[in-house]
Symmetry: C2
Subunit: 235 residues, 2 copies
């Protein structure tokens, strides 16, 4: 789930750090999917041990897939940025007229008159460094990604997914039957989803009560559907 | 998983449409997580029916969580854009000097001289519409999101996740025991992950063979870890 861009007015917008965003991504899915899987199995099997086995297998699979996925997406972003940077340097050197025309078009789009545009194009393209920087940011909309971000992101998402997934599963450890486990799991998880949805919405500047209800709604719907499908095939 | 921004040079960059990106997101996770869960359970239980039940419950839970998650993230993006747009209109009206100073800073950053900057600020801020458009795009880095995108995205991601998940699970339908199922499931899924990783990398302009190996590696690692954990607790 993508979050809105952090906002550069520091004084009155709540900005969320990259780490907080990763925790939110991992926790959202961790609270929802293992919860729903365990709920689904509870309607189909008689053994809590089996629900726990499947739940743990899912948590391990999900946290590796999400963590590695996040790591590789981050690496791809770095490589993509570097490839585009090299490409812009090459274009500025080899086809300066084409690139100059692109600058001119961008400046026309923001409403500059022809005379001002010409002045601006001259100043902006005088230094190749400055020129390429402009193209990267304003033509391509690319910001330089931090290469140390990818492994950090991967670890955070993985851990948050696992932590989120263990919450609904914990109920099956302390109860005798899958249906008792389901009752407690649903209770604990819905409370967590409400709190988490509330905080997440506060963080991103959205209405918090609606956010809390949405998170809990997704969890309940996923769990209900999984329960229904699992019971249907096991009958 | 975030993909690099589509690139505005249509002639020699491969750009991926929003729909293709959604298919990639759904399929990546759908091929990996249900595969790994089923593999994990194969090491712990004796009944293929149980692996199928858990796998289907996971697919249902995952596709609802991903689809609704994608839908709500899309809605949030639209709301965030509208809130920022209203805010910029208000600021341009109420604190025009502050906003004009922000335009000046942005133009200084791209290397314009003081004289050109003043001309540009005057022209750019003459029309409030133009001014706000500039602030949205260049100060905040926000592009107007399409409100019809969110429900379409949700449906595409859900369906792609379910389609991806049914591939590894199908092997357990046609085999007698979970271990036979696992063998065929791993074979089919790794071939799919290799092909899919290859195509995905081609699409985003990355080295395709490395991309194929990475996708298959994530799947194998997740499945191996889930198998190991499930066997450990079930002993």
């Amino acid at each position: 789930m993508a979050l809105p861009h952090p906002h550069p007015h520091p004084e009155d917008h709540l900005t969320s750090s990259a780490m907080l965003q990763d925790i939110v991504i991992g926790l959202s899915d961790g609270l929802t999917v293992p919860f729903a899987l365990a709920a689904g199995l509870s309607g189909a099997v008689q053994s809590s041990a089996l629900v726990i086995t499947a739940g743990l297998a899912e948590i391990v699979a999900g946290s590796i897939a999400m963590g590695l996925g996040g790591y590789l997406a981050g690496r791809t972003e770095v490589e993509h940025y570097e490839a585009e940077l090299a490409r812009e340097y090459r274009e500025v050197r080899e086809v300066p007229d084409v690139e100059r025309a692109e600058v001119r078009d961008l400046l026309a789009e923001i409403g500059l008159s022809e005379a001002t545009r010409e002045l601006a194009v001259q100043e902006l393209t005088a230094d190749p460094e400055q020129w390429v920087k402009f193209m990267m940011k304003y033509e391509l909309g690319l910001e330089k990604p931090d290469p140390r971000q990818a492994p950090k992101s991967a670890a955070t998402i993985s851990l948050a997914y696992a932590a989120g997934g263990l919450i609904p599963l914990s109920a099956y450890f302390f109860t005798a039957t899958p249906s008792q486990g389901l009752l407690w799991s649903a209770l604990i998880t819905l409370v967590c989803l409400l709190i988490f949805g509330y905080l997440k919405s506060r963080l991103t500047g959205q209405p918090p009560v609606a956010g809390a209800l949405k998170m809990a709604g997704i969890g309940a719907l996923a769990a209900g559907a999984a329960f229904f499908v699992a019971r249907l095939i096991s009958e």
